[in-house]
Amino acid sequence: MPESGTQAGYAPVNGLEMYYEIHGEDRGRPPVVLFHGSFLTIATWGGLLPALAETRRVIAVEQQGHGHTADIERPFSFEQMADDSAALLGHLGVEQVDVVGYSQGGGVGIQLAIRHPELVRKLVIVSAPMKSAGWHPDVLEGLAFQATPAFVEILSGTPLLGLYTSVAPNPDGFAGMVSKVGEFNSKPYDWTAEFERIAAPTLIVKGDADGLLLNHVGEMLRLLGGDVAGDTAGVPASRLAVVPGMTHVGLLQATDWLLACIPPFLDEAMPS
């Protein structure tokens, strides 16, 4: 790995040529790996990536069919994306990382912690549930709609199309990518049993209006050992940050709020 500057490349993993970028210098902190959301790319991390890279090495990846990473003949899944990411980290010779995943990428982060626990030191889940029923019914309706051909048409009228064609190895692949995301996002899942066994200290970040059910997030915190009176029981290793006046889409761009909670959580000493 380079000592400084930004490096980009493709890692051959599980039949995929998986794109990654490495930003920032090694400053003695564990590197952070960033997992983007559905339809998104490394570029959509906005101000968060450069800000994190000022104090640590940041490894940003693009998942199958997203950004620079070409699609291959297999469906999308959280588990596969986690395995691909683990293989990429192996390719780079990285033994342990802190994980920050947004939305779909939060699900990938959870799966990485479940399937490859040795790789994950700390986990930050930004606006993602541990089961599909953790979404507000309005969002579930939207996710079901993602699986319909009409959705491809709608999304083609948004900046997401330009975002895709600007970097995708197959500029004509947008419709295929959208329908594969739709197929995978509309599939129910429930990782409760595995989630409870995650040992990595975990920070859950959500907007107060982000479409994740608030009680679901409370349940996630409880499963990780939180939801206790810290003055008497001590402050648990896993944390919850709810950002006021914030939607799901807005949270990704709320760099100040994310920086207010993520680096302090990552930089705190590991619980003994």
Binding site: L203, N215, G230, T232, P244, G245, T247
Partner: protein, 320 residues
């Protein structure tokens, strides 16, 4: 600066700090039933911040006679008026550096609630409704209405009753570590409070501070009993009342507060929250959960609190 000027005995920020109030007993005691709490890191950080805080001069202070009570108030800072309501066992300055930080951009009106600080006990049990009515009388005396209100812990309950009983007085309401019924406190907190006695405070810096400001130096055990009676017999506010008042409300708790997140979520929903904002739009209510913050420690996270409170209060009223 002569803090003893005038007839009213005052306690300065520096006095509070010297007494080590926030460092040990006081903040522990300020959370309902937390008298035996371990002192956590955030408390020490709050204490450190407090030592650096500089007081903002009090421009007006005095007592308002209301319902048989002589209720102490003080005013400091300049800007849009903001009422600050303290929690159990506290008084105005016990907010520590949070108070001068607010006073940098606001005219902060602080009250000492019944049996607290410089406001004497008058031989009756505390009630949220009565404390709200008395606070309303202070605002009336000062000629204030339609102002922003911040209440912490017990003071959040007073703030809610103010918004319920005196809606014209409250523009927006910020509830820090508040609860509207006893589902809003962890069971062990209430259990701890049931066995709490004044003896636990013996020799604590908190008691020193109480003696410094309280009109009756022997009144502390009475205050302990008043708080226990208030908390252990709290029937809660009807959900319809919590849902029904007009003031846009921001609910703030720590992620390891004395208040379970589920209760804050319950309040948030009653106030109109819990929607998917990208689809439904943002409601007037906000929920802010501060990571790694306890009931006692949250009030010391001044910058973090102001990062959410200022934008919430400074925004135009919905529909304005």
């Amino acid at each position: 600066m002569n803090w003893d000027q005038g007839l009213n005995r005052r306690v300065s920020q520096a006095d509070v700090s010297r007494a080590g109030l926030h460092r040990r007993g006081f903040l522990r005691a300020s959370a309902a039933g937390l008298a035996v709490a371990a002192v956590a890191g955030p408390v020490r950080r709050a204490a450190a911040q407090m030592d650096e805080a500089s007081p903002v001069a009090v421009t007006d202070s005095g007592y308002v006679e209301t319902n048989g009570l002589r209720m102490y108030y003080q005013v400091q800072g300049s800007g849009a008026p903001l009422l600050l309501i303290h929690g159990a066992f506290m008084f105005v300055e016990a907010f520590g550096p949070f108070l001068p930080a607010l006073a940098e951009t606001r005219q902060v009106i602080g009250v000492d609630l019944e049996s607290h600080g410089r406001t004497a006990d008058i031989g009756r049990d505390l009630s949220y409704e009565q404390m709200a009515d008395d606070t309303a009388a202070v605002l009336a005396q000062l000629g204030l209405s339609g102002i922003d209100v911040i209440g912490y812990s017990m003071g959040a309950g007073v703030g809610m009753q103010l918004a319920i009983r005196h809606p014209d007085l409250v523009r927006k309401l910020v509830l820090i570590s508040g609860y509207y019924n006893n589902s809003g406190l962890y069971a062990e907190i209430l259990a701890g409070e049931a066995t709490m006695t004044a003896d636990l405070f013996e020799g604590s810096p908190w008691l020193d501070a109480y003696l410094h400001v309280a009109p009756d130096p022997n009144g502390f055990p009475v205050l302990v009993d008043r708080i226990k009676t208030l908390d252990l017999n709290f029937a809660g506010f009807p959900a319809a009342d919590v849902a029904g008042f007009a003031a846009p409300t921001q609910i703030i708790i720590g992620d390891s507060d004395a208040i379970p997140p589920e209760h804050a979520v319950d309040m948030f929903r009653l106030r109109g929250g819990g929607v998917a904002g990208d689809i439904a739009g943002l409601p007037a209510a906000q929920l802010d959960i501060v990571p790694a913050a306890t009931h006692v420690g949250i009030i010391g996270q001044v910058d973090r609190l102001l990062a959410s409170i200022h934008p919430f209060l400074d925004a135009a009223m919905p529909g304005a």
